[in-house]
């Protein structure tokens, strides 16, 4: 077990593209860190550099305090789980799991004992004599995990280990991975493109975009206090709503009405180079049916009325989609996010608002409904730089903060 430190680590390919740019990251001993981002953001390259499967172009990588830049993967004492599982097809499950131990020249008895132990943990005992070809996807995944844990390495590196499982099994394996990591207490770096996995699994999440780290922090912090537009849009499902806003007379003119701002934001906006147009971000759960809230709550937000497009009842609450007039919020980061989800060419007119209302709300499709939203929870972004203007000393304080 060991800590992993990335010190200005970069990866440039011979053709000139930079896959990873000056990544600084300190992963504590026993920590579970998730690297997340859209495809091509450099997360897998970063993981491969930690594993030693890719050379580091510049910067320093230390595992357990020791510089390992030039060490071969086999000398780094790390175990990796691959998306494809990468099981050796010619070996049985037992042989697969014993492979790293055999290479480490352990004696047969110890190997058998360790494999049996790991197999028990992952409930693979009955499958030990099967070949990978005769296993289901979930079983193969567990064998891949088993092969990683038998060695008790300094760190686990996992490259989208659950991506090839079907949705239901993935949710269950997520808890297995999480429990296993806590039980073993081994430093783990986990790569995924799935923000739900990132939110649920990690102690800390690293959000990457275009080879650069956007924000590092515990999942809740990223969710509540996104540093920029990209993080705000990437984390959360359904994702944050973005509304175009124009600064006018100390207020923000938006499709949802004029939003008042507090002193702090006003000072920010009065600066000479301050943007005249902003992007307003609101999470779906910060809306509520205006008919269902008390006066105390009402005072903390504002209301608007809009036609209801679609109602999706989740049982516990309702996802209600509204169509609002006005300009769409546009920024490079938002386009990138849309491209990643494949929604770039599927926009429609006006902007769509996703809200999460109480299940008691009698809202119906087609009607026009009054909706309240919480001003203390909104974020304001600079469309040019993507910076979150409402963030003060790392905390997001809403638009009204003084």
């Amino acid at each position: 077990m060991a800590d992993i430190v990335l010190d200005k680590v970069s990866k440039r390919f011979p053709d000139g593209t930079t896959a990873v740019q000056d990544v600084d990251l300190e992963i504590a001993d026993g920590e579970f860190v998730i690297l997340v981002g859209p495809s091509g953001c450099g997360k897998s390259t970063t993981l491969n550099m930690i594993a030693g499967l890719e050379d580091i172009s510049s910067g320093e990588l230390r595992i357990g305090g020791e510089r390992v830049n030039d060490k071969a993967p086999r000398d780094r004492d790390i175990a990796m789980v691959f998306q494809s599982y990468a099981l050796y097809p010619n070996m049985t499950v037992r042989e697969n799991m014993a492979f790293p131990l055999r290479l480490a020249k352990m004696d047969k008895e110890t190997i058998n004992q360790k494999v049996d132990e790991a197999a028990k943990v992952l409930e693979l005992t009955a499958l030990l004599d099967r070949r990978p070809a005769n296993l289901s996807g979930g079983q193969r995944q567990r064998v891949a995990m088993g092969r990683a844990i038998v060695r008790q390495p300094k760190a686990f590196l996992m490259d989208e280990p659950l991506s090839n499982l079907d949705a239901k099994l993935r949710v269950q394996m997520r808890t297995v991975v999480s429990r296993l990591q806590k039980q073993l207490g081994t430093t783990t770096v986990y790569v995924t493109h799935d923000q739900t996995e990132a939110m649920t699994l990690g102690d800390r999440v690293v959000i990457m975009r275009g080879g650069a780290v956007q924000q590092v922090g515990p999942p809740q912090e990223l969710y509540d206090h996104p540093r920029n537009l990209f993080v705000a849009g990437f984390i959360g499902s359904p994702s944050m709503n973005f509304v175009h806003a124009v600064v006018e007379d100390g207020r923000l003119r938006t499709a949802l009405g004029d939003v008042p701002v507090g002193d702090r934001i006003r000072r920010e906006l009065e600066g000479g180079d301050a943007p005249r147009e902003l992007i307003l971000g609101i999470r779906p759960e910060h809306f509520e049916d205006a008919a269902l809230i008390d006066d105390e709550t009402r005072r903390r937000g504002m209301e608007f009325e809009a036609p209801v497009d679609i109602v999706e009842s989740m049982g516990s609450d309702k996802y209600v989609y509204f169509t609002v007039e006005g300009e769409r919020a546009t920024a490079a980061e938002l386009e990138e996010l849309a491209a990643d989800t494949g929604a770039a060419d599927f926009a429609g007119a006006g902007s769509n608002l996703v809200t999460r209302l109480s299940a008691e709300s009698p809202v119906r499709e087609g009607e026009s409904r009054r909706v309240w939203f919480n001003l203390e929870k909104i974020h304001l972004f600079d469309p040019g730089s993507g910076r979150n203007l409402t963030l003060h000393e790392g905390r997001s304080a809403g638009a009204l903060a003084d």
Binding site: A51, A79, N90, P100, L103, E117, G138
Partner: protein, 333 residues
């Protein structure tokens, strides 16, 4: 660090998997029932089958004409005393020709030479071919040029190549012979065989490399990465991961090359013309059949070569489980 307790989630995950349809085990019973069913065929199915046969018929007919007929005819010839110089003495003699051939020293010498050439050339080609395949697979710059260059020997007509070897080893004029003080290696048995094998290896290693490269492409990159992180050295990755995964491709390559090498003819024909006991069985059959005009004995030799080749193929397919290229069934059950 202890890994004793079982995470409860693993149990749940295992159960969820059991519910999952698909996977190999789910598919097996279905297959079996399909195979075992003797239900009467519907009209539609029957028409489909007939169409299938009809579509195969032209190809099957051609195969029968150009391969089955000559094979059967030479078997028929091999059972007769039939020498074109004495056509009147033609007579059915049963297996007498086989006794003649199989008790003859020339045959066994040629057989030994052929076996030697086969074993040595295929073994050397496998090693060199693997090296070449790895180089062709791994090169990043000038991949096309490297591959083309490697394949040139295979693209030259064997007889032409053999002549160039012969000239090279001819004392006085050949550049290779001159390297060895103008000796005449093609006039001695051991050196002749060595040169024949050298020519064979030079010529067909690219073919071996090509077959092996197809096999290399089947080794997933992740598998090698996994082996690296599991602590394998480059050599261990090669022997413990690459070779086993490539095994079907290697066996196919070996089978092709072994059958091919056993029929060695053109190189010997040009280089020594069978002199100094360097004849292969094909040379011997040719000498008897075409030069000697002894159709009976010549056909007997051809049939014996055919049987040997069939045995080699059988051994590869049955004992080593060589699968046809493209099917991965051989290894797994």
């Amino acid at each position: 660090m202890s890994v004793n307790a079982t995470p409860a989630g693993a149990q749940a995950a295992a159960e969820a998997e059991a519910e999952q349809p698909g996977g190999r085990h789910a598919a097996v019973p279905e297959q079996r029932s399909r195979r075992g069913s003797r239900a009467p065929l519907s009209d539609n199915k029957r028409a489909e089958r007939r169409l299938g046969w009809l579509l195969c018929a032209p190809a099957a007919l051609v195969m029968v004409l150009v391969t089955a007929y000559p094979i059967l005819y030479s078997v028929w010839l091999s059972l007769q005393r039939f020498d074109l110089r004495f056509p009147d003495e033609r007579e059915f003699v049963g297996l007498e020709n086989y006794v003649t051939v199989l008790t003859n020293d020339f045959w066994w010498t040629a057989f030994g030479v052929t076996a030697l050439i086969t074993v040595v050339t295929v073994a050397v080609e496998l090693v060199l071919g693997m090296g070449l395949a790895l180089i062709m697979h791994r090169t990043l710059v000038g991949r096309g040029i490297v591959r083309t260059a490697a394949l040139i020997p295979y693209g030259i007509v064997t007889v032409v190549a053999a002549f160039s070897w012969r000239y090279a080893w001819t004392p006085g004029t050949g550049y290779l012979a001159n390297l060895f003080d103008g000796s005449a290696p093609l006039t001695e048995r051991a050196s002749s065989l060595a040169i024949i094998m050298l020519a064979e290896i030079w010529k067909t290693t690219p073919f071996m490399a090509l077959l092996l490269m197809a096999g290399l492409a089947l080794v997933p990159e992740d598998l090698l990465k996994a082996a690296s992180t599991d602590g394998a050295t480059a050599w261990q990755r090669f022997t413990k991961v690459m070779l086993p995964v490539m095994k079907p491709a290697i066996l196919v390559a070996l089978l092709f090359r072994t059958l091919d090498a056993f029929r060695v003819f053109d190189n010997i024909f040009v280089l020594t013309n069978g002199g100094n006991e360097t004849s292969s069985v094909s040379m011997l059959a040719y000498n008897n059949l075409i030069r000697g005009l002894n159709l009976g004995i010549g056909s007997t030799m051809s049939v014996l070569i055919f049987i040997t080749v069939a045995i080699i193929a059988f051994v590869f397919v049955k004992l080593f489980g060589t699968a046809a290229p493209g099917s991965d069934d051989g290894e797994r059950r």
